[in-house]
């Protein structure tokens, strides 16, 4: 069987497994949208701060659900893989000719499908409630591609943690950490408007700021090549690093078992 076919089988299993667990589908759709609604309404007066880059806080904040949805992808990828390890399924897979790389890529393929659907949904919600993309239709397509890439990168990170720890609970424990990373970024205000120096410094060193700013630029600025370059660059770097680490962790785990 070719590597591509192996990837296809694993991806199909990943998609089906996600589809059979309503909690894995409902929460990535409900939570980010609910937070988008309450935060954008609650912080709408922030657009009156001098220098705020948009008249609509909703448009400014629309990048948030894409990143939060990607965090859910991390949890789904990691928890599913950890369950395979805990149930012994990975050990049985190790006896088959399935390649390690195909297992990880296939798992991420399932995450990519779910992330793509999520991202289309978030964009549709934004458009329905009146957000207009400054980068136009092509910008919307790039937005979905970038957000799906971010989800794959986070998914690979979740897979690495699952393979390294072999525990679904450990993967779940990663979620608060990533959530902290999200909150300590420029998600609520542009970095130049963050008043607390220490917070602005943390947000500047936090790669999640650049992922958010890349997505946001397509919504409120148009084609900001620097923001897009940084976002694609960080997403690519994170994906590559996490895939290498996940592959290494898989080799270790298969050696052990």
């Amino acid at each position: 069987m070719s590597a591509l076919a192996q990837v296809g089988y694993v991806a199909r299993r990943s998609v089906l497994r996600t589809a059979r667990q309503p909690a894995n589908i409902i929460f990535p759709f409900v939570f980010p949208t609910a937070l988008l609604a309450v935060t954008s309404a609650g912080l709408s007066p922030a657009t009156k701060i001098p220098g705020f880059p948009s008249d609509s806080f909703l448009a400014f904040f629309l990048a948030f659900p894409f990143i939060q949805g990607a965090l859910f992808a991390t949890m789904n990828a990691g928890t599913d893989l950890a369950r395979d390890i805990q149930s012994g399924f990975l050990n049985r897979l190790a006896l088959t000719p399935l390649r390690g790389g195909a297992l990880i890529v296939g798992q991420l393929g399932g995450i990519a499908v779910l992330a793509f659907i999520q991202n289309c949904y978030y964009l549709a919600v934004g458009l329905i409630v009146g957000v207009r993309l400054e980068s136009g239709i092509v910008g919307g397509i790039v937005l979905i591609i970038l957000a799906t890439g971010v989800a794959i990168a986070f998914g690979a990170l979740g897979a690495f943690f699952a393979l390294r720890t072999g525990s679904g609970e450990a993967v779940q424990g990663l979620f608060p950490l990533l959530f902290v990373g999200l909150f300590l970024s420029s998600m609520n205000l542009p970095r130049n408007l963050i008043e607390a120096d220490w917070f602005r410094t943390v947000a500047t060193f936090n790669p999640i700021s650049y992922l958010i700013e890349g997505l946001r630029s397509l919504i409120i600025t148009g084609w900001d090549w620097e923001a897009l370059g940084l976002a694609f660059g960080f997403a690519g770097l994170l994906a590559a690093a996490a895939m290498v680490l996940a592959n290494w962790a898989l080799q270790l785990r298969l050696t052990r078992t």
């Binding site: 909690a23 922030a46 424990g173 008043e195 917070f199």
Partner: protein, 293 residues
């Protein structure tokens, strides 16, 4: 017979001795020694001790309830401090104090919700069924969980307050105001526990976690979290105007700045919620009894 506590639990053995019935009877006899209220409190203290022991010796149970309020406080008070420059933002003690009150009340409510997770876990693993069989006064079980939630939140609130003061929070209220603020938060904690325990005792599964969390989360966030009510507009202003959490937040912010505006309404709302939810929890307990015995 349930066994006497050993090791680190030994000091709690008096409660078990007084309330130890046989597990073979659906409704055990009242303890020989002590009154009905004595049995109630012995059950309550034993349950509270067990929960607190579990929480404080298991980092995965304690840390989320501790870390989340701290990072919400950090993200809101640190990242959004520029919000107090918005025209019309007239809170006198600065944005850190403004957000501290929200995070304090949120930590109180979620302290109760996290305790509800523990109740659901006890039901899922079968411990709660044994507890129902053993307890001479079953309402003491709910009281025990509520005591544990309060104890757990007290630690969170202490650390949160220390952090807030360390980063320069301005407090305008005096001692009485602050006692009233923490008392208000304690009632919110009780209401959160009663809400979550009602859910946990009806559904008896950890999977009910989102049902405990989401309504509390939405109720809190449909209030003036980031700016005062007067600065909100649109649908959120309409919702926040009728949301009981708004009066709690406004009273808390009044108290920390040394004013008594909205305070009596907030206490009425909080006590009303606690009373209503105690009926909800009590009926949940009855539901659990019917299912378990």
């Amino acid at each position: 017979m349930i066994s006497r506590p050993k090791g680190r639990f030994r000091w709690a053995s008096k409660w078990f001795d007084r309330s130890a019935p046989t597990a073979t009877r659906a409704r055990p006899a009242r303890p020989d020694a002590g009154t009905a209220s004595g049995a109630f409190w012995s059950v309550a203290f034993a349950v509270a001790w067990r929960v607190l022991h579990n929480v404080f010796t298991t980092p995965s149970l304690f840390l989320p309830g501790m870390i989340f309020p701290l990072f919400f406080f950090t993200a809101f008070a640190g990242g959004l401090s520029r919000v107090d420059n918005i025209p019309g933002f007239d809170f006198p003690n600065g944005y850190t104090a403004f957000q501290f009150v929200f995070v304090l009340l949120q930590s109180a409510a979620f302290g109760g919700v996290f305790t509800g997770f523990g109740i659901a876990r006890d039901f899922e693993y079968g411990f709660a069924r044994r507890l129902l069989l053993a307890a001479p006064r079953r309402s003491g079980i709910v009281a025990g969980y509520a005591l544990a939630a309060a104890g757990r939140w007290a630690v969170t609130a202490t650390i949160l307050t220390i952090v807030a003061l360390a980063v320069g929070m301005q407090v305008g209220g005096g001692g009485v105001d602050l006692v009233a603020l923490y008392a208000l938060a304690l009632i919110v904690n009780l209401a959160g526990t009663l809400w979550a325990s009602g859910i946990a005792m009806r559904l008896r599964t950890v999977q009910a976690g989102p049902i405990m969390q989401l309504p509390v989360f939405l109720t809190l966030f449909f209030a003036p979290v980031y700016v005062p009510l007067a600065l909100l507009n649109g649908w959120l202003h309409s919702v926040a105007s009728v949301n009981p959490a708004t009066s709690l937040l406004e009273a808390g912010r009044s108290l920390i700045s040394g004013s008594t505006d909205h305070v009596s309404v907030a206490f009425l709302v909080a006590v009303g919620m606690a009373v209503g939810l105690s009926v909800w929890a009590w009926r949940g307990l009855r539901s659990a009894e019917r299912a378990a015995l």
